[in-house]
Amino acid sequence: MSLPSFQLLRPKTLDEAMALMAKYDGQVKVVAGGTDLLPSMKQKLFTPPYVLDLRGISELRGIRSGAGGGVEIGVLTSLSTIEHALPIRKDYPVLYEAVKTVASPVLRNMGTIGGNLCLDTRCLWYNQSLLWRKSCGFCLKKDGDLCHVAPGGKFCWAAFSGDTPPALMCLGAEIEIAGPTGTRRTPLSEFYVNDGIARLHLAENEIVTRVYLPESSAGWRGSYQKLRVRGSIDYPLAGVAVALKMRAGRVEAVRVAITAVNPAPFLVKDADAHLVGVVPTEEIAGWVGDLAASTAKPLTTSALTPEYRREMVRVFAKRAVMSAAAN
């Protein structure tokens, strides 16, 4: 399978990138590591006239201390750089746990944090070659009017399949987005749209530029539990992140987030109601598991049955709470 023809744009600065985005308004796909986009382009899921390669913009690469405390990560920072950054491992262990599960070491060398945040949603009926999709019938998400997952439906259930966003959402991370009229900053938890097609609150002429980890969640304990068939390479089939702050053996603050079981990653509402102020026990952790499972709406978008994946959200949320509390 060959890549479709396109013109490659290689800006050296963010301003240059924004100018190109404006010039070729709506005809540009942004590429960073390329591990997600390029296979999809070969499958003709995207055939953009222009591909804008961010990698020349060095200001978007690297991990720094944030101005008001916390940590700032440029979107071009590779996942393996984050994995091996000691401050991340020490202060934001849930991110470390999540990032080291992404794909495989080779893919983490190429893949970036920005790419992982903006990952396209995935579905067995969508991530296929042009010929396969012709054989099956084109779906809502690409070229068609059908949903094979929920026949007759008009809603796209393709699952968001990034590992790092639930961890970042647990840490209260924010992202910076550059657009034609300047930059804006938004909590990551408000970045996603629970719709396999719309996916993100990101306009076509905008680029995510930085991730901010707040000082307030530095030192929170964490755990990320990932369901996959293989010990490496695989996208998550379900994922649960838990980050919590402990004081004197009791939970002072907590966030729980799930991924790969809905079109968007979600913070699990009311998890704190069970946990704050208590010493986590198996029983309490089990309640959190039930909450997480009820937030999950997996469908037949991937390997392993939806019922099993949802059950694993329950098991993994419980385990993640116990594991985070024990860390």
């Binding site: 067995l124 012709k134 068609g144 009017d145 059908l146 293989r230 390997a303 392993l304 049955t305 059950e311």
Partner: protein, 860 residues
């Protein structure tokens, strides 16, 4: 034990440097001036009649040189003489999603891809069959008109007296087992480059040369001849490096013929390399199999009778199917002593990619059922599963009830080894909760005693040429596919000739240069090509020995060739004298005799003829032999002995082998009872390969087999939805990664076969089949659930665990109980024809017939 200098030593593969540095050339690395890229249009329907193909729009595209369709090569072919049911490109019908319809040869891949979108095909849709049991009920719209009820072939064998056997049994176990479909997933996708030369006399297209990633160059030459209507002598097939086959390249894959057809039409070289998705469609993997198994035993575990019914979901073409279904039955024998056997095998056609031969061909899924049921019986009768296997051992030399001759039989030692090393007796049943041990055995042929094409020709022939430079060139048709064929051949010849392996150069698998060899399949190469190499080396050695004997003035029987030296064994000289630091080689090098020996050799010999010698270098002996005899060549061939060729019953030709390998394995696993996830911690794998010619290569093969079995046991599964392959790629078809690969302790058992080369048997396939039941049995030991459907994915294990514990039922396995499966499951979701909606994409096949403006079929 015999003392060898090359055999039995762990040496690096002779082609290792090229493969590990990237310098080695595989088919897709090759190119020729003016070469075109071929791209294939595949069917989007599982079963349809082709009413019309219009290639005019594609031909008109700038950069397109030729477009070919079924009409350009309509002759049918197939790997088996009884199964000539394929054409390179569909002629009247397409029979699976992915079937080959047309091919474009263009100046670039992108143009070729764009051009196939411009081929208009009008189809008439036919009812399609996806489940083998349903397919067997078909009366109309058959997949192949000459195959009633879509049954490719059925066999019904009875050996011994079944009624008597079951009447004698104290206990009878019965059960259905399902093995889901797996594929080879070789690293290298199939690739073929075809080129015609111009005939010097007529200027028309003349000889054809094909470079292809194949395990069977000679069969390819034969089928090309059939389809292209050219004499075989006009076709040269060359096998470059092959990046793994595992059976997926052991027959003719459509692209191999399509490339030649396209090259003929384009009058230019054409290369086609399958995409990974196309590799999955080309498939030829291990079929989904239903096994209904019934075993009768005495209270001490001795088997009295076995009845086995097998249904294989073969896909749309015969491929190796007739052989697969026969192997499944025949290799019920030759592992244990079973006095009475009934076998009913059905190879069924369905509208899916064709299944074929895959590592452990035909034996693996039945072995899963068989070894699982033995474990169930042992549990029922409170027998040690390892002990139960011991009481059922064969007593070789013997011929089994179904006509298989067994001479060497290392199974008892294999069982002893894994039982001892795994601490079986002390640990089985006593491990912590959730952890367990399981044992299973398996075996495999060392090549088929009867070739696919009935003939009396040798199965392998090897030629050797030795020249004045002392170089030994081996010409063999055997196909190196990564298993070590070339290295094995070099070792055997170096051992016989007593020369350094560095002298040996192997020229292999080029039909113009090398003598015929049937190819690399059914684990035949070491046994058959090895024996041919042994004979060829002995043949050429005769002349060297007789010349050396004259030079050294001794009897030929006294001449010893070893470690690159030739000496008179009647003297006191020994091998040791030549390996000392002041060896002859260094002295000669210092005198400058080695340099220039090629040309001055005979002069030198003459000048040095001042008295009988008592030792010579290998080169001196070679030069002497050439001086005496002229060209120094030898040839040797191998055909299996008549006594090994099996019974006379219908289908009795498949299963017999000159020798069988044996394997016993113990797996240690743990099961996460909340998630159903199975972790394999260690596998002890003992394999009887006769003599290990190259122990490190044997270990590699055994470890690779266990690893491939692990994939089928836990992760690998081709998922279907109404004939559509849901996971045609290495991301969604999950072969194990290194992280979940367990420690594998390989134990080589050397039974020294009386007919194998230096006593060797096969090592590449036999271990695979034991791994799956060893893991299944270990899961049972760990958590008490019996999985009768493979692979043992976490959802299946958890469903079984929850049912056993009486927990609330969650429908996790699409209505198939993995402990008592009845039928195959299908992926959830729905295909287009179940959907609805008036506004479809112009390319959506569901628009067919509804949009008068565009060609019917909508640009398929």
């Amino acid at each position: 034990m015999t003392d060898f200098s090359v055999i039995g030593k762990s040496i690096a593969m002779v082609d290792a440097a090229g493969k590990t540095t990237g310098a080695g050339k595989y088919t897709d690395d090759l190119s020729l001036p003016g070469m075109l890229v071929g791209k294939i249009l595949h069917s989007v329907y599982p079963h349809a009649r082709i009413k019309r193909i219009d290639t005019s729009r594609a031909k008109a595209l700038d950069g397109v040189v030729a477009v070919v369709t079924g009409a350009d090569a309509p002759n049918p072919y197939g790997i088996l003489p009884v199964g000539h049911d394929e054409t390179a490109l569909a002629v009247e019908k397409v029979r699976y999603v992915g079937d080959h319809v047309a091919c474009v040869a263009a100046i670039s891949e992108e143009i070729a891809e764009n051009a196939i979108e411009l081929i208009d095909v009008e189809y008439e849709l036919l009812p399609a069959y996806f489940d083998p049991v349903e397919s067997m009920k078909a009366e109309t719209d058959l997949i192949h008109e000459n195959r009633a009820h879509n049954i490719e072939k059925d066999y019904h064998h009875v050996f011994g007296d079944l009624d008597k056997g079951f009447a004698e049994a104290d206990y009878i176990a019965e059960g259905r087992y399902l093995a889901n479909e797996v594929t080879h997933a070789a690293m290298e996708p199939h690739s073929t480059l075809a080129n015609f030369e111009l005939d010097p006399h007529t200027g028309k297209l003349g000889r054809l040369t094909v470079w292809s990633s194949t395990q069977v160059p000679y069969y390819l030459q034969h089928k090309l001849s059939l389809v292209l209507e050219m004499p075989m002598s006009q076709i040269r097939v060359i096998k470059p490096l092959v990046g793994g086959g595992f059976g997926g390249k052991s027959e003719i894959i459509p692209l191999e013929i399509i490339a030649a057809v396209a090259a003929r039409a384009a009058r230019a070289p054409v290369k086609i390399t399958y995409t990974r998705e196309e590799v999955f469609w080309a498939h030829r993997g291990r079929p989904r199999t239903i096994i209904d198994l019934k075993t009768g035993v005495k209270n001490d575990g001795r088997m009295t009778a076995v009845a086995c019914k097998v249904i294989q979901d073969g896909g749309a073409y015969c491929s190796y199917g007739v052989v697969t279904i026969l192997y499944s039955g025949a290799l019920l024998g030759a592992l244990y002593d079973i006095p009475n056997i009934r076998y009913d095998g059905y190879r069924v056609l369905t509208n899916k990619p064709a299944c074929g031969a895959m590592r452990g061909h035909g034996t693996v899924n039945v072995r899963f059922a068989f070894e699982s049921q033995m474990d169930e019986i042992a549990a029922k009768l409170k027998l040690d599963p390892a002990e139960m296997r011991r009481v059922n051992l064969l007593k070789p030399p013997t011929v089994t009830v179904n006509g298989l001759r067994v001479l060497s039989y290392g199974l008892p030692e294999c069982i002893d080894q894994v039982v001892t090393r795994s601490g079986w007796k002390e640990r089985k049943g006593k491990l912590p909760k959730g952890r367990g041990l399981g044992v299973a055995c398996s075996h495999y042929v060392s090549g088929a005693a009867n070739s696919i094409i009935r003939s009396d020709m040798p199965h392998s022939t090897v030629n050797i040429k030795i020249d004045r430079d002392g170089s030994v060139v081996i010409y063999t048709g055997a196909s190196e596919i990564g298993q070590g064929s070339d290295t094995m051949t070099a070792q055997v010849v170096a051992e016989v000739l007593g020369c350094e392996i560095a002298r040996v150069n192997v020229i292999a698998a080029d039909t113009d240069l090398t003598p015929i060899d049937l190819g690399s399949y059914s684990s035949r190469v070491t046994f058959m090509a090895g024996n041919a190499a042994l004979r060829a080396a002995a043949d050429v050695k005769k002349n060297i020995v007789s010349a050396a004997a004259k030079r050294m003035n001794c009897a030929p029987e006294d001449v010893i060739m070893r470690n690159d030296r030739v000496w008179n064994g009647g003297t006191t000289l020994s091998d040791y004298d030549f390996t000392a630091s002041d060896s002859l080689g260094e002295k000669e090098a210092a005198r400058g005799h080695v340099d220039g020996q090629i040309l001055r050799g005979s002069v030198l010999q003459t000048r040095k003829e001042d008295g009988p010698k008592d030792h010579m270098s290998f080169e001196e002996a070679v030069v002497a032999a050439i001086d005496f005899h002229g060209a120094l060549t030898g040839t040797g061939s191998y055909a299996p002995p008549a006594a090994a060729r099996g019974g006379k019953h219908k289908g009795g030709g498949v299963g017999p082998s000159p020798a069988y390998s044996y394997s016993a394995q113990v797996a240690e696993v743990s099961v996460d009872e909340d998630t159903g996830e199975v972790t394999v911690h260690k596998v002890w794998a003992a394999h009887d390969c006769g003599r290990a010619l190259n122990p490190v290569a044997v270990e590699g093969q055994v470890i690779g087999s266990v690893w491939m079995g692990l994939g089928q046991a836990l992760e690998e599964e081709i998922v279907w939805k109404d004939g559509l392959l849901m996971n045609p790629g290495l991301l969604e078809y999950r072969s194990p990664s290194s992280t979940e690969s367990p420690e594998i302790e390989c134990i080589i058992v050397e039974s020294i076969d009386p007919e194998g080369p230096f006593g060797a048997k096969e090592a590449g396939e036999g271990s695979l089949a034991a791994t799956i039941p060893a893991i299944s049995n270990a899961i049972y030991d760990a958590v008490g659930v019996r999985l009768r459907e493979s692979p043992f994915t976490p959802e299946r294990v958890l469903a079984a665990l929850r049912a056993k514990k009486g927990m609330k039922r969650i429908e996790m396995t699409e209505s198939v109980d993995p402990t008592a499966p009845e039928k195959f499951r299908e992926h959830g979701g729905s295909l287009w024809f179940r959907g609805k909606g008036p506004m479809r994409h112009p390319l959506d096949p569901a628009r067919q017939g509804t949009n008068a403006g565009s060609p019917a079929g909508g640009g398929d």
